[in-house]
Amino acid sequence: MLITCLPNVATQVGAYRIMTGNKFHYPVGNPELAPEDETKWRAQVLSAALKILQTPVESPTVFEK
């Protein structure tokens, strides 16, 4: 699966499992949070990513975080 802030480009080039990242220059970062909170937040994002890996798709699909 792909985490990107350009899901439209990802869809165009035919990636199948797409999740919108947080920011273009740090897709799985959230620097406004305290470090421990950021890791927790990131674990939630990646947990959603793991669900996407287990989800069947039939065409390029952009999933919600």
């Binding site: 699966m1 985490i3 799985v28 674990a43 287990q54």
Partner: protein, 349 residues
């Protein structure tokens, strides 16, 4: 009556092999080698045929002089069509074909054809509008190439534009290069004209070709994540501090893998991002924001999946050629598959 000028090296002109690669540039008012076969296929037409020959070494050692002489022949003979090669996978010959065909097309506006194998280095020297028939690697594909060359020559001489487009689509190499061209208006004007046309619902044509991605099989969903090994990949250019393998920061042509074995997170100062396409400072301050080792280790410990792969893979995805990226993607995918990885999280900037 149509005039065709054909460029050949010493070998295809029948002068000799490597020992004759120093052959000087010469013009002959008749077809030679592949040109004889071509005129045979085109025998129903009234064609005046000229051949220019140059040894492969002579061309490369005296390129400017050869092109000057070719220019004199172009002016004197005034061909309607320029053909070079085909050169198949022959490197020096391929480059000479690309350069002479581009010269004929660019300086004299004469339609130009050559024939190259897709990996011939000549493909990197092809100028705008030169038609490159895709050939096999060896002269075994000479008959089919010449047949196509004759078909293409007929389309050009008949000014059959629809036929030409169809031919290009089917038989010509796509040359993935950027060319410098002179436009009628500055880019700001062209962009606004296009925007206005779009807002009005009118017709417009983007100057940037859309990427035509070939469809590929849908990766199956992971059935049992608790048994799965997962890997991380990024195009965000994250490398160990100091960039030991010299990953390019743009127009990437390489990928690398770096160990995250026994790492619980990636620390500032140990990794850095090589990438001119985004502001890397936030990632450099905490590389987990690109390659989320901390979060993946947490999920691994909690038993969400079996194991995090010992390496992450990285390239730089800015300013790069889609074809090159595809090649790198295939390389990464093959390596990852061979390591028994079942799923990938790929972050893109």
């Amino acid at each position: 009556m149509a005039k065709i000028l054909h460029y050949l090296n010493q070998f295809f002109a029948g002068i000799g092999g490597e020992d004759k690669a120093g052959q000087q540039f010469l013009f002959l008012p008749k077809p030679l080698g592949p040109g004889v076969l071509l005129t045979d296929v085109l025998k129903n037409r009234d064609i005046e045929y000229g051949t220019v020959v140059c040894g492969d070494n002579y061309f490369h050692e005296n390129e400017d002089a050869v092109l000057t002489k070719l220019g004199e022949v172009m002016t004197r003979f005034a061909p309607d069509l320029f053909i070079a090669g085909p050169a198949f996978h022959a490197g020096r010959y391929g480059i000479a074909c690309a350069k002479t065909a581009s010269f004929a097309r660019e300086r004299f506006g004469v339609p130009a054809i050559t024939g190259l194998f897709e990996e011939n280095p000549g493909t990197r020297e092809i100028g705008r509008h030169v038609l490159v028939i895709q050939t096999g690697a060896s002269t075994a594909s000479m008959p089919s190439t010449l047949k196509r060359c004759a078909d293409l020559a007929a389309l050009i001489l008949n000014d059959d534009r629809d036929g030409l487009e169809a031919f290009k689509e089917e038989f010509c190499l796509k040359i993935p290069r950027r060319f410098t061209v002179q436009a009628d208006a500055p880019d700001s004007v062209r962009a606004l004209d296009m925007l206005l046309a779009k807002l009005r619902g009118g017709a417009f044509e983007s100057e940037i070709p859309r990427i035509q991605a070939a469809p590929h099989p849908i990766p199956a969903a992971i059935q049992d994540l608790s048994q799965a090994r997962l890997a991380m990949v990024t195009e965000g250019g994250l490398v160990p501090m100091g960039n030991p393998d010299r990953l390019e920061s743009s127009r990437g042509t390489k990928y690398f893998k770096y160990s995250i074995k026994e790492r619980d997170d990636l620390k500032a100062g140990e990794f850095e991002a090589m990438h001119t396409g985004y502001d890397t400072s936030t990632v450099n301050a905490d590389p987990d924001r690109l390659i989320p080792v901390d979060a993946m280790r947490r999920l691994e410990r909690e038993g969400n999946f079996a194991r995090l792969h010992d390496y992450y893979y990285v390239t730089t995805g800015t300013g790069a050629m889609p074809a090159k990226m595809q090649e790198l993607g295939v390389g990464i995918a093959e390596e990852i598959l061979a390591s028994g990885v079942n799923g990938v999280v790929l972050t893109a900037t």
